[in-house]
Structure formats: structure tokens, C-alpha cells
């Protein structure tokens, strides 16, 4: 599926990267612990997180994450949005809780990467 599909499934807002919505995503990872994300994440991934600090953007950068989704209404600040822009990252925001957001994407066909 594409990031556009992800956005539609979650009814999410696009905060950064509107121009990249056709990018393909193949797997997803949901966590507030960045070290776990760094251990398990796969290529062409989406990262769902409720953690909201600059290290989330850096983690996404190191892993070539395609799209970051902030759940439960978390709002990244301007500095984080600027970092994401510089790195060509897409940022979505949704009011859904982590569990629900992951479930909706899973049901729509986006699965976690096999470890």
C-alpha cells in the first residue's frame, strides 16, 4: 500500500511530506521505545509512536523509515517538523490510540515485518 492509503485508513492529517504520499510501505512497527524500533524495524516501514521528541525523527532517519505516524493526538513541535522536512520524511498525526491505529492498518493489509 502507499502512504496515501495509510492516511485514508487512519483518517490522519499530513503534517509534513504531502508531496511523497505515493511512496510504498511494506511493513509497520508500533513502539514508544526507540531501541526496540532500531532492533526490529524492516525496510520500507511505517513507524507508529506516541513518543514525541527529536530522537524519533533521528531513529526514523537511521532506519530509512518512510512515514512516521504520531498516535493519540501527539503534536511534534516546529523543530521536529523542520528536521523531518530536511530528511524527506512524511509525518502523519492521528487521534487514534496506538492499539487501534495498529489494528486498523493491520486489517487493511499492512503487517509487521517478520523478525
Amino acid at each position: 500500500m502507499t502512504v496515501r492509503d495509510v492516511r485514508d485508513v487512519l483518517g490522519a492529517r499530513v503534517l509534513v511530506g504531502e508531496e511523497y504520499l505515493d511512496r510504498e510501505v511494506r511493513s509497520a512497527c508500533g513502539s514508544d521505545m526507540m531501541s526496540d524500533v532500531l532492533a526490529f524495524s524492516k525496510d520500507h516501514s511505517v513507524l507508529l509512536t506516541g513518543l514525541c521528541n527529536p530522537q524519533v525523527i533521528r531513529t526514523a532517519e537511521m532506519l530509512d523509515i518512510v512515514c512516521l505516524i504520531f498516535v493519540r493526538g501527539k503534536k511534534p513541535d516546529e523543530a521536529m517538523l523542520e528536521m523531518a522536512k530536511e530528511r524527506g520524511l512524511i509525518i502523519l498525526a492521528t487521534g487514534h490510540r496506538m492499539f487501534s491505529a495498529c489494528g486498523m492498518l493491520y486489517e487493511a493489509g499492512l503487517h509487521g515485518g517478520a523478525i
Binding site: S35, L38, A39, L51, M62
Partner: protein, 140 residues
């Protein structure tokens, strides 16, 4: 073919939000140099975890990266407290990081295991009370 490019970074102890700047810089330089993406990814993750560790545990330190045609060597040196039991520290899930670090998304006890996982070779040289030097190599 024996050109080696050396990059040096000072890791600042004060500001957790800036941790990762060195890794970010190395990643973009390797990309520009056309190094294969899998190696770039491995270097980026291993070094980033190391950089975070230096900020959490060791009040910063110094990172030297040597890029040769066959491998990327990262040397992360700090004057922190040292690691009393390396085998224990290498266990996934073991952490001595303070709780406030966990609220920032780190301190899950995955740092050193991740560094080992993503590097092709890792050597830890540590002395309690003196500091730690970790050398990691990734084959290109």
C-alpha cells in the same frame, strides 16, 4: 585504492535532543559517497546507538570514523564510568539507564546488543573508572 577518509566528532554530553547528530552526518556522507545502502544502514544504526549510550552513560566522548574501500571502522571513546560486567551489559533487556531516559524512548537494554547485531565486528575495551572504547567494523 588505499584511500582512507577519516571523520572526527565530539559528542556533547549536555543535550540529549542533539544526540545522533554525528551519526546523521556520517549517514549522509556515506550516502553521498555511494556506499551500498545496507552497509550505510548498519553503520547508521550501530553508531547512533553508540552515540546515545555516550550521552546517557558517559557524559559524551569522541567518535572517529574511518572509511576505506573495504570497510567502515567506528571508534567510540569515552571517559565515562566503564562497564563493570560486559557480558551482563550485552544481554538484551539489561539496562542501567535512569528512568528519565526511558521516558525519552531509550534505556530498554537494547543499545549494546543492537550495536553488535548491526556491526560485523565489535570490540569493547573498558576499564571501570577510566572509560570505554568501542570499535565497530562494517564490511562494505
Amino acid at each position: 585504492m588505499d584511500d582512507v577518509i577519516t571523520l572526527n566528532y565530539e559528542v556533547s554530553p549536555d543535550d540529549f535532543t542533539r544526540a545522533g547528530e554525528a551519526s546523521s552526518d556520517v549517514k549522509s556522507k556515506l550516502k553521498q559517497m555511494g556506499v551500498n545502502p545496507e552497509a550505510v544502514r548498519k553503520v547508521a544504526i550501530a553508531m547512533y546507538e553508540g552515540e546515545i549510550n555516550m550521552v546517557i552513560h558517559a557524559e559524551g566522548g569522541r567518535i572517529t570514523v574511518e572509511i576505506s574501500p573495504s570497510e567502515i571502522k567506528m571508534v567510540l571513546a569515552d571517559k565515562g564510568p566503564g562497564i563493570p560486567d560486559v557480558d551482563l551489559a550485552m544481554q538484551a533487556g539489561y539496562s542501567t539507564a535512569p528512568d528519565d531516559i526511558r521516558s525519552l524512548g531509550f534505556g530498554a537494554g537494547m543499545g549494546l546488543p543492537n550495536m553488535k547485531k548491526y556491526s560485523d565486528d565489535m570490540v569493547i575495551d573498558t576499564t571501570v573508572g577510566v572509560g570505554t572504547t568501542i570499535t565497530m567494523r562494517v564490511t562494505i
